[in-house]
Symmetry: C2
Amino acid sequence: MHTFKETAVTASDKTFFQLREDIVEGKILAGAKLSETELSTKYAVSRAIIREAINRLESSHLVERKANVGARVVSLTKEGLVELYQVRESLEGMAARLAAKNMTDDEVQDLNKLLSSHFDEVKDGQSYYQEEGDVDFHYRIVLGSKNNHLIAMLMNGIYHLVRMYRVQLGMAGPRVTTAFDEHRHIVQAISNRDEELAEMLMRRHITYSRNNIQNKLI
Amino acid sequence: MHTFKETAVTASDKTFFQLREDIVEGKILAGAKLSETELSTKYAVSRAIIREAINRLESSHLVERKANVGARVVSLTKEGLVELYQVRESLEGMAARLAAKNMTDDEVQDLNKLLSSHFDEVKDGQSYYQEEGDVDFHYRIVLGSKNNHLIAMLMNGIYHLVRMYRVQLGMAGPRVTTAFDEHRHIVQAISNRDEELAEMLMRRHITYSRNNIQNKLI
DNA sequence: ACCGAACCAATTGTCGACAATATAGTAGTA
DNA sequence: TACTACTATATTGTCGACAATTGGTTCGGT
């Protein structure tokens, strides 16, 4: 389960989540215009609700808005991907460092369990690991940092955009086993409470991961 | 001049900027409740405008909102400060690295000029340097990274919160000259296009800066 | 044919009113 | 007195209508 606690109560929240999913999953195309009136009939809510959702999406860097003109879904470019992964490298590197420092022993143990369950799946050739498992792994470490700013930035913003790139470019292929090894080393560093190494390995891991996607865009 | 391009056209924008300033500068206290009706009379705009402004402030981590209850200005805590500076260290470190890589020669030259103008001020004992000058320096480097995600995160979000801490805790005292030396070394690394060193020095610089403020909160 | 100005339709920005929800206060009972 | 259920009030959530702005289109002039 990679969905987060996001307690959606209000209609505005629900519309926001729905709209975000539709954008990330490509049901609304990258670069498309977001007409407020159109969306308000489509999702059966008032324009105010749509407006609020679009504002939130803008804060998440999933749409761009110009005053008195309107909003468009961001378009996926090679430069955008590079910039996104540079930020990710920076933030997740810090997350790994902090996780090595702040995770409880129990959490570290759970992380090791997660890793070995992934090992079993990789061994059996389950492709399930690829998306769901990778996401779980990264989430676990980010949450382990115990830094709420970091958590919010990655969970509410960056990761959705990352997923948008992954989904719409067709996600990575044969990187599973090598990524698994990288995960293993990161967990090792965290288990040893080696902050510097954890950060360095995570940064490398994300750089590799970027190279893997980047080729699809050239 | 440390104000950014922020072309405010719409009334919603203006209200947002005004409200943000009032919060950062402490005219609205940390932890205070933000009543929509009250603010709408105070700023002479409709509740919808206030609502939009509050939403944006929430995205900037200046305000926390609970559904059906309301919004409060964030409160300034020691933990919050530490978390904020951890993120800043991570992002600005990356910014320095990218600036060393992506700044044009002209931009590097301008940065050196800025530094020597600061030197003159420090020599003359102008306390002006402290806030305005420091901000200029950091902005210059962040913009030099040419990474729009990075720029947006720092300029629209983190820096305002940083300033809020600085203003409301009374800003640093005798750190001017030592901070100047740190700036000098960072500029040197950028001039040499030494990405790794630039990142490392910037991270240290921010850590020192945090220690300086942190003592005020204990 | 080309350029500019004045209109026009469509979209966004703003507003006030109504509905739904939470909090505080009151009354009632054990 | 302490606790619960209920009610009243104030605040937020949602909506539809009106105002303002944009971009395109048409028309006229050179």
